[in-house]
């Protein structure tokens, strides 16, 4: 086969910056309803009229029985941890995303330990991934009861539901 290299010098490399462009996304209709509810500190889900499952955040079609999810439900802001992860402490310069160190942006703090959790809010059947605050990472367990932490001034955006915190002080 003539096209396979016989000698193998290092391939030339060209250094360069890669700019990630911007997009303007059209929000789905349900997402608009969801974020409007968040502004009122309510968590909106949709209910499948076929199997009765309530999904948060809301979706249009049930992934199990493929029927339209016509029902609207406000679910509880109290829920249960169904899965969790404890991150190692954040180290500045350890990793970059899109060429940016998350510590430099102020999004993460040096030495911070994050606990991303899956929450099933009471009245819903699905899990929402978000952050657990004000908890000792060593004492988190599956089945732990938590409640929503809201932004100081909800403005109708996803960030209104900041995360969750333990219902009872451990």
């Amino acid at each position: 086969m003539g096209y396979v290299k016989e000698t193998r010098p290092e391939t030339m490399m060209v250094e360069g910056d890669w700019q990630v462009g911007c997009y303007r996304y059209k929000a789905p209709r349900l997402l608009e309803e969801y974020t409007r509810a968040l502004k009122k500190k309510k968590i909106l889900g949709t209910m499948c009229m076929g199997c009765g499952k309530v999904i948060v955040p809301p979706r249009n079609i049930c992934g199990r029985c493929h029927m339209r999810m016509e029902g609207r439900m406000i679910v509880s802001e109290i829920g249960t941890i169904t899965s969790f992860v404890v991150s190692p402490p954040v180290v500045k310069g350890k990793y970059k995303l899109f060429g940016v160190d998350p510590v430099d942006t102020g999004a993460l703090k040096e030495g911070e330990v994050m606990v991303p959790v899956f929450i099933r809010f009471d009245g819903s059947d699905s899990n929402l991934a978000c952050l657990l605050f004000n908890a000792d990472p060593k004492k988190v367990f599956i089945g732990m009861r938590v409640k929503a932490v809201w932004a100081a001034e909800p403005k109708g955006a996803m960030s209104d539901l900041d995360g969750v915190e333990p219902l009872e002080k451990l």
Binding site: M1, Y3, V4, K5, R8, P9, E10, T11, W18, V20, Y23, R24, Y25, A27, P28, L30, L31, T35, K53, I55, V56, P57, R59, N60, G63, R64, T82, S83, F84, V85, V86, S87, P88, Y95, K96, L97, F98, P102, T105, A107, L108, M114, P116, F118, R120, D125, S126, N127, L128, A129, C130, L131, K155, G156, A157, M158, S159, D160, D162, G163
Partner: protein
């Protein structure tokens, strides 16, 4: 449909950095090896199906670059990208091309070149994927901290951690079982000359000594980011019988997507319902592929399986979901050594994705390794027992997509 069979297999050695070749040169190595294995040249090939993980490698139209390089000018070419399952879909594409009667011989080539990313691992590639899948969430007001902590950085690994927790909670498997799967993968990989993380005689205690990343995953549990390519040659019945002594025949295939397993994607609506380890897509694909293959009892009729297991928990989860073991029992069977290379039902004897992960190529490698076992060409990691039926699995998409391919030692009846 016509009968189709895999008659040639080619792979490159997988390593963390192949700085001596370009993307096209890397893919050409695998294609060349596969054509040599089948004893044909590019002239006889009717169609080319290629693929890698979308955006990874930073190349927009790799099929054009590779196409010229492997000498398939003027031939019909398709590029397939279905995330981690890309290789599985490429295999399906190549099999479809022949089984449909369109072409007598097709090739499927899949590749990944992680080292072309300047940032660690697959970060740049994930950035590509992230724009479509996650960035819209920022424009709807998701905070950067939440994006980083819950979705972006975790990527497949993040999903797998949650998934492992769910599985361990319901099945009773412990972290020691993850050590066992990872050690088995490293041991098996040591017998596979093309594998990446090779560790002869690796024991679970060796894996247990590695650092904890995020419970239950240790450093030793996680797959590498590999550079590599693989290629299969598919032929119709008459040609397959003429060209190959022991072709690996297509028995059944299926692929399904389960939106309930899609982690916060597109409309921010997809979050694993109740249990990300539920993997309904795997159940449905397996049922469909088995019924097409005439398999009624997969636990008895399948001789070996290659499961897409970048993280050790997934070998356990998927082997149950694909019907190889009853629910929540895979770890018990593994404890008894049933999934070892000389066990009752060997799983991922090539080392699997846990030892070698050139993402686009990974799911094609599963099909290729099953074919090698049926052809009897696997070499040192050949399963001692006669392999009549083998099953290859792929997991990908946005953690929601499954491919299942069943190969056998005789044509479909």
């Amino acid at each position: 449909m016509r009968n189709a069979a895999i008659i040639g297999c080619g792979q490159t050695k997988h390593t963390s950095k192949r700085r001596d070749v370009s993307v096209a040169e890397l893919a050409a190595e695998a294609v060349s090896a596969a054509l040599d294995d089948a004893g044909i040249t590019m002239k006889e090939v009717g169609a080319v199906i290629s693929g890698n993980m979308q955006g990874f490698g930073g190349v927009a139209q790799p099929e054009q670059w590779i196409g010229d390089w492997i000498g398939c000018a003027g031939k019909p070419a398709i590029r397939i990208a279905t995330g981690g399952t890309t290789g599985g879909s490429v295999a399906h594409g190549a099999l479809y091309a022949v089984a449909s009667g369109m072409y007598d011989i097709s090739i499927g080539v899949a590749w990944e070149k992680h080292s072309d990313s300047k940032e660690a691992g697959a970060t740049t590639g994930l950035a590509h994927v992230g724009i479509g899948n996650l960035f819209h969430a920022l424009s709807y007001g998701l905070s950067l901290k939440n994006l980083i902590a819950t979705t972006a950085v975790g990527a497949a690994a993040g999903v797998a951690v949650y998934q492992a927790r769910f599985y361990m909670h319901r099945s009773g498997a412990g972290i020691e079982h993850l050590d066992m799967v990872a050690a088995k993968a490293r041991r098996n990989a040591a017998k596979n000359p093309y594998a990446h993380l090779q560790w002869p005689n690796c024991q679970p205690s060796d894996i247990a000594k590695t650092d904890m990343i995020a419970y239950p995953f240790r450093f030793g549990h996680v797959c590498p980011a590999s550079d590599g390519a693989s290629c299969i040659v598919v032929a119709e019945e008459k040609l397959a019988k003429k060209l190959c002594k022991h072709p690996a025949w297509l028995k059944g295939l299926a692929s399904y997507s389960d939106e309930e397993n899609q982690l916060q994607s597109e409309n921010y609506g997809g979050v694993g319902v109740l249990d990300p380890s539920e993997q309904m897509g795997a159940r449905v694909s397996a049922q469909k592929a088995y019924s097409m293959a005439g398999i009624t009892d997969p636990q008895k009729e399948i001789d070996m399986a290659e499961i897409y297991q970048p993280f050790p928990s997934q070998e356990l989860i998927f082997s149950e979901r694909l019907g190889l073991f009853d629910d929540a029992t895979a770890w018990r069977h593994m404890e008894k050594g049933e999934t070892d290379i000389n066990g009752r039902l060997p799983i991922s004897v090539s080392g699997g994705v846990n030892a070698t992960n050139a993402i686009g190529s990974s799911a094609l490698q599963r099909v290729l390794e099953c074919a090698l076992q049926i052809m009897g060409k696997a070499g040192e990691h050949q399963v001692p027992k006669k392999v009549k039926t083998a099953m290859a699995h792929g997991w990908g998409g946005v953690t929601n997509y499954i491919t299942v391919t069943v190969l056998g030692d005789s044509p479909r009846g």
